[in-house]
Symmetry: C2
Subunit: 251 residues, 2 copies
Amino acid sequence: MSADQPRRDPEEQAFLAAYDASEFAHPSVAVDVVLATVDAGILRALLVRRAEHPAKGSWALPGGFVGFDESLDAAVERVLQRKAGLENVFVEQLYTFGAPDRDPRTRVISVAYYALVDAATLHAAQPANGGVVLATIDVPWDGLDGGDVVALADGAQLPLAFDHATILGAAVQRLRGKIDYAPIGFELLPQRFTLRQLQTVHETVLGHAVNKDSFRRRVLASGQIVPTGERETDVLHRPAELYELHPSTGR
Amino acid sequence: MSADQPRRDPEEQAFLAAYDASEFAHPSVAVDVVLATVDAGILRALLVRRAEHPAKGSWALPGGFVGFDESLDAAVERVLQRKAGLENVFVEQLYTFGAPDRDPRTRVISVAYYALVDAATLHAAQPANGGVVLATIDVPWDGLDGGDVVALADGAQLPLAFDHATILGAAVQRLRGKIDYAPIGFELLPQRFTLRQLQTVHETVLGHAVNKDSFRRRVLASGQIVPTGERETDVLHRPAELYELHPSTGR
DNA sequence: AAAATAGTGTCTATGAGACACTATAGT
DNA sequence: ACTATAGTGTCTCATAGACACTATTTT
């Protein structure tokens, strides 16, 4: 560490050059949204086919540029409404990707978000235009290692635009790190759900099986969910009790 | 790291050549850095006095606009070098703040980072200009609740510019959530440290005392640190063994 | 009745907290 | 010798995993 080096003119000039550049040309700012769901034990995310250059024909996260007077959250809502026909979805900011060459058009800094929704709601919402697919996300790493992921549709790998494989990987990594202590698993289920469904959601996100007994104990002891007194129907076995989020959690 | 870029055909190259990024008004993009340290059991952060409007006279996080061809990480490095005279500091992205009215000049989207350094290094580093203070951070909430924090110098509260009290609070919240499982406590200590020093760092960040016995057991069992065989000197009591990060951790 | 999953009770292993005790520096 | 903190050994308690067992639905 050379923290005690005196400041020299070149450093000051570098600062001034960078500052002046920012006065003339500003980067573009976009939001990209990882809209994820768990469907029958499979992790999926919505992708949009790029109809125009750049990366024409490859698949991208739904996204868009941030308006000059538009908040980041508002931009995300607009994107979700327009590309997936969804409103009032659980959304959290993920990370901001700012490599100078990540978009060939110009400098684009992208603030990535993830949105979670249950599979039924996502299937019911019809996107305004075509060119949209609910891709299967294949995670080629274990635990919290991180890295790019692979998107599949009909068994074939989809080419992903820009650095979106990295953004998808970061979203999976964040979900895996958070699901054990934050109430995000519920966002991937309908309002009423069984403990088995919740366990499947956790297992799908984490990428490995979890212990049934301790999972039930832990979830019930957390006080986050309450039994409804009703049971699931149309199953081939003993029906499980339906639970819902504790009213104080407000959903 | 980043995914393979799709092949560029002539049509796409023509599109890129004709692309005009200045078609719309773009927000400005800045980085703000929470440069934090733990000094004798006190959490501190570097603040810079604003010499110009807006918020003239109040205190702000060190920051600066991102150059058009400059990566976010490079902008953070530049800010740390210029405002604190530091290089090779541990840095991680925190969150991006984008409320349209957070800066009265114009639309400024700020990508916030936090940087961690040990107190001795921070004291040794000479900031380029005056108007810099190492403020005490007072956290008026417990655990992971979150919220604004208060900056103090010489016992008096410092007025904070823009939304920087919120950014500082988010940094504390992130550190508290991460220190139990991520190796960030070591970044706040010199290369060699005692277990008691490490415990004090944890207690200062968390805002509450931790159990000595289980802390020692947990840290030693993690295998992250190794004993050096040497002991501290010039203390009024039995000197403790000095530890350092396990070589494989690479620092 | 058979099949399948829901749900309960209990034993064990592990890790945290508590506490007593010994060790070693400076004064 | 006294004081303060370092460091160790052991007991207890809480929680996760494992496993056996019972309960309840459809076919």
